[in-house]
């Protein structure tokens, strides 16, 4: 019984060098110690690992004696039996492979090391093993991966979203790929379109057009309106934010003009090349600039057209009176108030329709006209009234005022007649009943302690009342009664009663039909004729010239009296002195027709333009004033959009400054 042990070593070229050893006996030991018949210099092998024995011919038993198994047919076992003659077998001890077989009846064990003795001894590519290759994903692989992922997520998906929702009116809620294209949040007004890119970006590669805006902003009737038409169009009941109402499109086109400088021409070239038409809504109404209100319109946009506008319009053949403007402090046309230009006497509007007390419009029947305020303007409003007389502190009016209203100052003041409307923005028309009548009494007769008044505004009724006053209608001439005594008595109950008594006595002594009193009443200097222009005749027997008091003169600009409240100051004697006279030169107005609007220069004394640009000689106090402080691009009856936002945190700095300015 013998075992032939063949140990195979390899040269560095890989050639095999077999060494044979014959071992006599029934069994051979396998282990790391050199005393073993099969000595494996392998640290993974136990010093005495296993024994291979042949208990019977043709039957080979391999058994571990170390408690550590060995590899047999790919598995680790403690014991294995094989038939070396027929099948043979292969064992694995650590890095060594033992092949069992027979050779002429002798059992052979072929021993070969099949693994390197250490990891470092294995074959290593020196080019890569010292680098990061293998430790990280390759540069090329990750580059292409990133490329594909980003193009898919940020290009293909948004385009798919666009294509699949193209033409839909409102896109369903959900996650849409093109949201990743949004450069910034929409303003508050458009926040509901946040998920609906195609509401504005209708067609691919086509810049946002106005018709996208008009889909919601439906009031486009102003597209071809001109100045005064537009005034008529304004007012309550407007259908909503307008898309066009600044000026007719053809005027706008001329106003923009061509680019003058090199930069402008380059810009225009690019806009043409990239299909971005000029004058679109979005030129001014920029979006995606951040959540919150849309930013205020900037003056630079106004000046883009209004600078040199007059010349451009005229050279384009428009007979337009629109002046040029760059900045309120530097260049602004004179004010052009819309004033009364006479009552149409040939087609008079009946008084009933003009009577404000009955809900009529006092301006009906009046011709209105815009007049350049290059100097003092005259406007006939139908009244005989002078401001200087009423504001004096030394004349009879003042004396009467001190009697009627003791302690209310040395003379009358503006607020005694002029009352603001509830908003404080403008002044209500002065009313006879509340403002004038305390002095200009219409008392006729005292009946049981009550003064009977002639009705204001109803001349036919006045005539009837006077005639009724004479009872039976017998003739009566108030001979001997001084005219002044009943046309202009001192105010107050006592005087009214005294006058009534005088009239009654005269009537008793001098019977008549009251014709003389009627004539005296309507005569110049009479109760009516003192303030009104009166002509005799007509169906009523008498005709009073129409009276109108416009409450707003500047139709395109906005002026808020309330914002100028801080001009209220007191005189040195502690008496009231409203700041009105700082702008309205009422004290020196001796003609009823004087229109006491302030001039441009008056405003410019404080309002110095957007960036404080000003004509230095005029300035009393600087208040930064952009165009938007008084004007709206899409103007309506109300305050400019910028002013409506005042006081809010997001209001532009110059508007806040306006609220804070204190004069003197």
């Amino acid at each position: 019984m013998s075992f032939k042990i063949i140990t195979i070593a390899r040269t560095s070229e890989g050639r095999e060098i077999p060494r044979e050893k014959l071992v006599e006996g029934n069994e051979v030991g396998v282990g790391r110690l050199s005393e073993n018949d099969i000595h494996l210099a392998d640290l993974a092998v136990e010093p005495r690992h296993a024994v291979i024995s042949e208990p019977a011919p043709g039957r080979l038993v391999i058994e571990s004696i170390s408690g550590l198994g060995f590899g047999f047919d790919g598995r680790t076992v403690m014991r294995a039996e094989i038939d070396p003659a027929s099948a043979g077998g292969e064992l694995r001890f650590g890095s060594h492979r033992l092949k069992l077989g027979t050779d002429d009846g002798t059992i052979t064990v072929t021993v070969e090391r099949v693994e390197a003795l250490s990891d470092s001894a294995e074959e290593k590519d020196q080019q890569t093993v010292f680098t990061l290759r293998g430790l990280m994903p390759g540069k090329r692989v990750s580059a292409y991966t990133f490329l594909a992922l980003i193009l898919a997520a940020f290009l293909a998906w948004p385009i798919y979203t666009y294509a699949s929702a193209h033409g839909e009116k409102i896109r369903p809620a959900g996650v849409h790929g093109d949201k990743s294209w949004e450069s910034g949040p929409l303003s508050k007004a458009h926040a509901n379109l946040e998920n609906d890119c195609q509401a504005c970006h209708v067609d691919a590669f086509v810049a946002v057009r106005d018709n996208a805006c008009e889909a919601c902003h439906t009031d486009v009737h102003g597209r071809d309106a001109t100045g005064l038409e537009r005034v008529a169009m304004n007012g309550p009941g407007r259908p909503g934010p307008a898309a066009y109402d600044h000026a007719p499109e053809k005027l706008l086109a001329v106003a923009r003009g061509g680019p003058q400088d090199f930069g402008g021409r380059v810009k225009a070239f690019f806009k043409r090349t990239f299909n971005k038409p000029e004058g679109r809504c979005v030129d001014c109404h920029t979006e995606h600039e951040g959540a919150g209100p849309m930013p205020a319109t900037q003056q630079a946009f106004c000046a883009d057209c209004h600078n040199g506008l007059q010349g451009r319009l005229q050279s384009a053949g428009f007979n337009s009176a629109i002046g040029s403007a760059t900045d309120f402090g530097l260049q602004h046309p004179e004010f052009k108030p819309l004033i009364l230009a006479g009552f149409d006497g040939t087609h008079p509007v009946p008084f009933a329709k003009r009577d404000a007390r009955a809900g009529g419009n006092p301006l009906l029947g009046w011709r209105m006209q815009r007049t350049v305020m290059s100097g003092p303007i005259q406007m006939q409003n139908g009244l005989k009234f002078t401001h200087a007389q009423h504001l004096s502190t030394t004349n009879g009016v003042a004396e009467m005022w001190r009697n009627v209203s003791p302690g209310q100052g040395p003379g009358m003041d503006c607020q005694d007649c002029h009352k603001t409307d509830p908003s404080g923005t403008r002044y209500q028309p002065v009313r006879m009943e509340t403002a004038c009548q305390s002095c200009h009494s219409l008392g006729l007769q005292t009946v049981g302690g009550t003064v009977r008044q002639l009705p204001h505004g109803e001349p036919a009724q006045v005539i009837a009342d006077i005639r009724a006053f004479y009872g039976s209608g017998g003739s009566f001439r108030p001979t001997g009664l001084p005219v002044a005594r009943y046309t202009r008595s001192r105010p107050g109950e006592v005087n009214a009663e005294r006058r009534s008594a005088d009239l009654a006595r005269a009537a008793a002594l001098l019977p008549g039909k009251g014709d003389a009193l009627i004539r005296a009443t309507f005569a110049p200097g009479g109760v009516c004729g003192e303030c009104h222009t009166v002509s005799m005749g007509g169906p009523d027997g008498v005709r009073i010239a129409p009276v109108a008091q416009p409450t707003r003169y500047l139709r395109n600009g906005w002026f808020d009296h309330r914002a100028h409240d801080n001009l209220d100051v007191r005189g040195t004697d502690g008496a009231r002195r409203w700041g009105c006279r700082d702008c309205h030169a009422a004290e020196n107005s001796n003609a009823a027709s004087d229109l006491l609007l302030p001039t441009l220069a008056t405003c410019q004394a404080c309002h110095t333009g957007e960036n404080g640009a000003h004509k230095a000689a005029l300035v009393r106090s600087g208040t930064a004033s952009s165009c938007a402080m008084c004007h709206d691009y899409h103007a309506d009856e109300g305050a400019p959009w910028v002013l409506k936002r005042k006081g809010k945190k997001t209001a532009p700095a110059n508007q806040v400054a306006m609220l804070q300015v204190r004069w003197r």
Partner: protein
């Protein structure tokens, strides 16, 4: 004679003074890039874009076009570096321009954004660009700081020699461990089996190998042998010495690997993210004109 002498001297001078790509031509490209940045900032400050600065203004488009073209040109370094040529447009000049013009992109692109950022493809492109630039800055600073440390660590040893030293010590360990009992043999075997180049990216970059089998084996052997009487010719003593030596060699190799990794790792960010940037940039440009 004079004529013969001069060219020789000038040639010597030229070769002796090393002109790196950062200092190329006395910082020519640094100056050009600085001039571009100053001009861009001045224009940004002087032009009052309403209602707020943004990439869609004329100035924004100009900056954006410059930035996009710059990015494409900078990417071309990857093509250009594979073809070395001398002269004005030498690779050195090109690299110098790459570095400084790349840095100027920080200013150009930031001004192009108008400081408006959000969760969108536009800011994604910007962020990727900044990542590429940051990795480039990292790479350059590593190139400035590490080569000396790398050379000091190697002590004239080549990588082949390092590998050979490892193999040699492993063979010696293997031989010395033969008489050991299985428990000790396993400890040595664990050291032999461990891949000296393994450990993963983090270990490579930090140089910290928590599961170093060599160190663990040595520690275990020492722990066990602490109270054993010293005998002459103890194989464990020899193993300890060999493990100690292997530890020293591993330390040097790992330091070498760490320094090389630090020199190299930025490119694994710089190059792939550049491609990510180009795709995001394309999406950015297309999106702007798509929803025009």
């Amino acid at each position: 004679m004079l004529m013969v002498k001069n060219p020789a001297r000038s040639r010597r001078q030229r070769t002796s003074s090393h002109d790196g790509f950062l200092q190329y031509r006395n910082f020519r490209w640094a100056k050009i890039a600085a001039a571009i940045c100053v001009a861009a900032i001045a224009a940004y400050l002087m032009i009052d874009v309403q209602p707020r600065p943004n990439g869609g203004s004329a100035e924004g488009y100009i900056l954006g076009t410059i930035g996009a073209l710059l990015i494409l040109w900078l990417t071309l370094l990857g093509v250009r570096k594979r073809a070395m040529t001398p002269g004005r447009w030498s690779l050195k000049a090109w690299t110098s321009a790459h570095v400084y013009l790349g840095l100027s992109l920080i200013v150009i692109a930031t001004l192009h954004t108008g400081f408006q950022f959000g969760w969108n493809v536009h800011t994604l492109a910007y962020a990727l660009m900044m990542l590429v630039i940051a990795s480039g800055i990292w790479g350059i600073s590593m190139y400035g700081a590490l080569p000396k440390a790398l050379s000091d660590n190697r002590e004239m040893m080549t990588e082949t020699q390092m590998l050979e030293a490892l193999r040699s010590i492993d063979r010696q360990l293997h031989d010395a461990a033969q008489p050991l009992d299985q428990h000790h043999a396993d400890l040595v075997q664990s050291s032999l089996e461990q891949d000296p180049f393994g450990g993963g990216l983090w270990a490579r970059l930090t140089g910290r190998y928590r599961r170093c089998a060599t160190r663990a084996a040595q520690a275990e052997l020492r722990r066990e042998g602490a109270f054993r009487p010293k005998l002459a010719d103890d194989p464990l003593e020899r193993i300890d010495t060999l493990l100690e030596r292997k530890g020293a060699i591993l330390h040097r190799v790992r330091r070498h690997l760490r320094l090389k990794a630090l020199l190299e790792v930025w490119l694994y960010v710089h190059v792939p993210v550049t491609f990510a940037l180009i795709s995001a940039l394309s999406a950015h440009i297309v999106s702007v004109f798509f929803y025009w």
